[in-house]
């Protein structure tokens, strides 16, 4: 049994136990969390707009993503034309051009949004879509990752992800290229 062998070796060899530190939240509570969030997101090549600035979501989508055919939307104000009930397997979503989801949380220090499997509807949606749009309430932005992990409960979800911008790579001579294997663009719409 490898398990008992490994655990026995660890028991024999492990160093003296030490105390686990208490991690403070390092909060400074700035009053411009939405601006900090937008700044961090833009630095990671993401877009950030106010939801209020969008009068007609359908027109906005057409203008923002010209030539779009397939839209999967989990946000009721944004009309999609793909019915989630008809999705039987993840690969059925491979033709999605734009996906629109909610996010439960945003983090000001790095511009990420927390999207769990409930918000994403199908786990692969935020990744397989060509373009991702996420709707986030301004009051759901926290200052840093410590506060973020206080807000979310990992045990209550099967999958969740912090997304900080469009898929990118710098693997070829460190040239930054947006649109590696995941979404080519990442837009957060701030509401409230």
């Amino acid at each position: 049994m490898s398990k008992s062998e490994i655990l026995d070796r660890i028991k024999r060899n492990k160093p003296q136990p030490s105390t686990l530190p208490v991690v403070p939240d390092f909060a400074t509570s700035p009053d411009n969390l939405d601006q900090l969030f937008a700044g961090a997101l833009r630095a990671s090549k993401g877009y950030c707009f106010s939801l209020d600035s969008i009068e007609d979501p359908e027109v906005w989508l057409k203008r923002q993503f010209p030539g779009t055919r397939n839209i999967a939307s989990a946000v009721k104000d944004f009309p999609g034309n793909v019915a989630f009930e008809e999705i039987n397997k993840p690969s059925d979503l491979r033709m999605i051009d734009v996906a629109i989801t909610h996010a439960q949380l945003g983090v000001a220090e790095n511009g990420t949004v927390w999207v769990d499997e409930k918000a994403a509807v199908v786990r692969i949606l935020p990744f397989i879509t060509q373009h991702l749009v996420v709707v986030l309430k301004k009051q759901d932005i926290v200052e840093n990752m410590h506060l973020a992990y206080q807000q979310i409960s990992l045990s209550d979800t099967g999958f969740g992800v912090f997304i900080g911008g469009p898929s990118k790579t710098a693997d070829i001579e460190q040239s930054l290229v947006v649109g590696a294997q995941g979404a080519r663009s990442h837009t957060v719409l701030l509401s409230g």
Binding site: S2, K3, E5, I6, L7, R9, I10, K11, R12, N13, K14, P15, P17, S18, L20, P21, V23, D25, F26, A43, S44, P90, S91, R94, N110, G111, V122, R123, F127, I128, N144, M145, H146, Y149, L154, S155, T157, G158, F159, G160, V161, F162, I163, G164, G165, P166, K168, T169, A170, D171, I172, E173, Q174, S175, V177, G179, A180, Q181, G182, A183
Partner: protein
Amino acid sequence: MKQTDTVKVDHARKARDFIADKERTDWHNGAITYLREKRDLGVGGVPEWEDLRNLASQIKTNVLGNLDDYLEEFEKNALANGVKVHWASDGDEHNRIVHDILKRYDTKMVVKSKSMLTEECHLNQYLESNNIEVVDTDLGERIIQMRHEGPSHIVAPAIHIRKEEVGQLFHEQLNTDEGAADPQYLTEAARQHLRQKFLEADVALTGVNFAIAETGGVVVCTNEGNADMGVHMVPCQIHSMGIEKIIPRAGDLGVFTRLLARSATGQPITIYTSHHQKPKPGGEMHIIIVDNGRSAHLGRDDFYTALKCIRCGACMNSCPVYRRSGGYSYGHTVPGPIGSILTPGFNLKKFKELPFASTLCGACSDVCPVKINIHEQLYKWRQVVGEKGELEKSKAMPLHWAGKILSSHKKYQIVGRLARKALRFLPGAITSNRFNPWSRQRELPKPPRQSFGEWYKQQNK
């Protein structure tokens, strides 16, 4: 790790081959230095940076002191989440476990995201010898896989390759235009190629950045989204982790996610920080917990803290030797300063030269986000190599005589006087020859006419 492989990695020789191309050496040095500079910029924006390093170090020290308990807690919670948990003593057992899972899916292909552990276990070679195709899906990993090479850097595996070489490679294997070397164009070609592979796969495998004892889940960090494209597309996902990847609490991720990407590339966080807790509806999720020499390393008082490493690469980006000798000169998946203190524990005969591939400048320890005393361990490994009688003659002989001379005031004075005289008259052919490797790139200094001691005495006459 196989102890039978005792062919010494000759770092100095490989480094000499690397620097023979001066232009390329300068380019490589510049590329790695650029990563370090971005790290410094990213770190500068976090006033509590040193507090975070201290916390990370304390958390990891606590983990290592209670590792068996945390692993059992992790397994219990993962099982409760519906995850299948496997334990592997070494790389071979890990590879067999993966193979058994693949056999059940009757599949001939697996998509894999970046995992230094599977590189260490030589999983690709094992599966390929069993007629299973492994598709590495991280762009850099895919490039080196196409070239039949291993990674030369743990974060940027293809950092040693020029874009023109990638262009030629993709032209031959992915049908891109001949001579095309624009990274944007080449990345798009890889995107199309890899999206097809994701659709064809039944099983996806990833490494693990953090495994949370309290929740039984694993965290995988990528910028490309390739791990998620693989894992969420297929019915069966496998996550391979070393035993040291454990962290106690979900809240500890606040510390580590803030440190990891900033230390690696200067980004505030990776684009995707994915938390896999339970299998997808109707799917299967496996976690393989791998030892492969780690539990033995845990028992080495002077060296066990190397297991705190979170694989950010900051130490190699800061290392003047790594930057000018390249990742391959270390002969192991994890190169650079951290590789040089981990590998001698796995196989001293093979990796005994690596602790000497350092100037002991300490830049590695200064940037390490979990505060491993890397340069001190490099120094201590040198003692071990000497005590075990594994020193090369070219090092052992001069050290033996230096020890004799430096430990005796009288001998030191006599030899000093002789050397000052001799060096003035002996021709360079005798002082700088093949028996003196120190003189290969250096001129001997002009010897002073008298020692400080002699001068001091003169002043007080």
